[in-house]
């Protein structure tokens, strides 16, 4: 029976880190540590001496982790991502999920695969949720600014709401811009002039 794996997750977002922990636990017993800070990252990882480090591809500290993974010389260990470079599909999947993994010791591919699969799935889900949230937020903000621009046009030019929106849309089309951008320019200009 193999010993439990030690896994380090480098992630600042607490919720996201816990989501990954949950998904990993479901694929077997392991010791999981979460490191959230950028400072003293190298030393903390070295002290924990993990088998696998999981880090978001978008985290700048990835270069620090890569150095640790390569500490004994680049020819002894995989440079990036996974135990078995021939497993291109898994590598590609991880990159798309925004995750990179460094296997700090010569782990076998069949032990790592379920962990990666679970983590990749979770990364995808968290990322999708984040994108949806951002899109909704932006849409709401844009609607607010269009309303303000409409209000300005109605007041200053005596237009109806529909006419005001039509004018915004026409201007946007003529200038090759988006309606929210035109609305935002109008609101900014009116703030400067008032």
């Amino acid at each position: 029976m193999a010993e439990d794996l030690t896994i380090v997750i480098v992630e600042q977002d607490k919720e996201r880190a816990h989501a990954i922990v949950d998904s990993l636990r479901s694929s077997g017993n392991m010791n999981i540590h979460i490191l959230s800070g950028q400072s003293r990252l190298a030393r903390s990882v070295a002290e924990l001496n993990p088998d696998v480090v999981l880090i978001d591809v978008a985290n700048p500290s990835r270069d620090t982790i890569e150095q640790l993974a390569l500490a004994s010389g680049p020819l002894d260990r995989p440079v990036a991502l996974f135990v078995d470079r021939s497993d291109g599909q898994m590598t590609q999947a991880a990159i798309e999920a925004g995750m990179s993994a460094y296997v700090v010791d010569g782990l076998q591919s069949d032990r790592i695969k379920p962990i990666m699969d679970a983590a990749i799935a979770r990364f995808h889900m968290v990322r999708r949720m984040r994108t949806e949230l951002e899109t909704t937020k932006r849409a709401l903000e844009e609607r607010k600014i269009i309303d303000r621009a409409k209000g300005l046009l109605m007041k200053l030019r005596g237009l109806s709401e529909e006419e005001a929106y039509a004018l915004l849309r026409k201007t946007a089309m003529d200038q090759g811009k988006r309606v929210p951008d035109v609305a935002s320019a109008l609101v900014t200009a009116s703030e400067l002039l008032s």
Binding site: P60, R62, D63, T64, E66, G73, P78, A80
Partner: protein
């Protein structure tokens, strides 16, 4: 005509300017390229984006293509340097504590003399903790070359730590580092946060160090010759524009935007104009040619540069530098001649030169008469002749 899309990645640094200017000033558009820039969070991620085809071109550390030829990127395909996009542009700095120690000892901080600066740091307690952005980088090569000349060896006398450029100031402030070497503007950011002081420009160690290159995978360059030519022409024209003294102010205004560096234009001005503030007291030092984007054949990918880098990497990573055929050929002087000769780039007669042998700008033989090469000397007067090394 339909424009050819190219996704290109960069790391937020002043020396990413050639790619950014190629887009912002329309040089890419003029070549029929729809250049889509993507800011990468780290060098390893930028490398992977390039290798796995998420981008086709990148602003890249000059040693990486050479490392790919030496087999140091284990299994990753070969990368090429189409052209050099900047010489120098880095700084070596100290934590506030170390700077204070040197000052107490009477060190003058002339920001020029690497030998004197070396003597000064020799007296510091060891091992020194040194931060660089990435292990396979010109930063590492310059720092280790300099420390070796002081009789210092890795592990006993110093340790090297990979710290992302944007986080360098934080690491210095947290007392994780004694020394650091980083590309601008991140050294100036350390100074502005009152976390450290600048000791030397990278150019004080090697006045003509090829710092960044325009990189693609070799397969992509070979399979897309016409697109490669266009991309090289766009970036070359951008570098020419960057070399005009009038361009510095506008360059700072472009780079300061949040989608690029997101740092104040004033900080960017310092490196672009070669006038750096070296400590929190506001002392300034002027460095001619602090960063060179274009003049004096700066963009030519010399095979001797690749050979120098290859030899250094082979030594540090204990691999056989001569065992990898064609280490030098990853610096594509052949493509450079082909793409840029027709639009007026000066082409040297030879693609190899003796590195370190020019104390001042000098005239050399070119395909078309003669041309000027910039000063090229090492701090210790050493000379690297690639023909002698075989």
């Amino acid at each position: 005509m339909k424009r050819i899309p190219i996704d290109a990645g960069f790391i937020p640094l002043v020396d990413a300017a050639p790619l950014i200017v190629a887009y912002e000033m329309g040089f890419a558009g003029e070549e029929g390229i729809d250049l889509r820039l993507r800011k990468a969070p780290s060098w390893s991620t930028l490398r992977d984006m390039l290798v796995f085809g998420q981008i086709q071109a990148a602003h890249m550390l000059s040693p990486l293509p050479v490392a790919s030829a030496l087999g140091l990127l284990r299994g990753l395909p070969r990368l090429n340097a189409l052209m050099v996009t900047s010489l120098n542009g880095t700084v070596i700095g100290l934590s506030s504590d170390v700077a204070e120690t040197l000052k107490q000892a009477g060190f003058g901080f002339d920001f020029t003399d690497a030998v004197a600066a070396g003597e000064a740091i020799k007296s510091l307690p060891r091992p020194l903790r040194i931060g660089v952005p990435f292990l396979m980088s010109m930063h590492t090569e310059l720092v280790t070359l300099w420390l070796a000349s002081l009789g210092m060896t890795e592990t006993t006398d110093y340790s090297i730590h990979a710290i992302p450029p944007q986080i360098m100031a934080q690491a210095v402030g947290n007392d994780e580092l004694d020394l650091f070497c980083v590309g601008e503007p991140w050294g100036s950011v350390v100074v502005d946060n009152a976390q450290g002081a600048l000791l030397l420009p990278g150019s004080a160690i090697w006045s003509a160090a090829p710092e960044k290159v325009l990189a693609t995978s070799q397969d992509w360059a070979d399979e897309n010759p016409e697109t490669t030519n266009r991309l090289m022409r766009a970036v070359w024209r951008a570098s020419k524009w960057l070399s005009k003294p009038d361009s510095a102010t506008m360059t700072a205004e472009i780079l300061r935007q949040s989608q690029y560096l997101n740092v104040s234009a004033e900080i960017l001005d310092r490196s672009l104009k070669g006038r750096l503030t070296i400590n929190a007291q506001g002392d300034t030092r002027t460095v001619p040619n602090f960063i060179e984007f274009h003049n004096d054949a700066a963009t030519f990918p010399w095979k001797s540069q690749a050979a120098w880098i290859g030899e250094r990497l082979a030594e540090r990573y204990h691999v056989d530098g001569n065992g990898a055929p064609g280490t030098q050929t990853v610096f594509r002087s052949d493509l450079y001649r082909q793409a840029l000769g027709p639009i007026g780039a000066n082409l040297p007669a030879a693609s190899l030169k003796v590195e370190g042998a020019l104390n001042a700008p000098s005239e050399v033989e070119a395909i078309d008469g003669s041309m000027i090469l910039g000063a090229n000397h090492f701090f210790d007067g050493s000379i690297y002749d690639p023909d002698q090394e075989k």
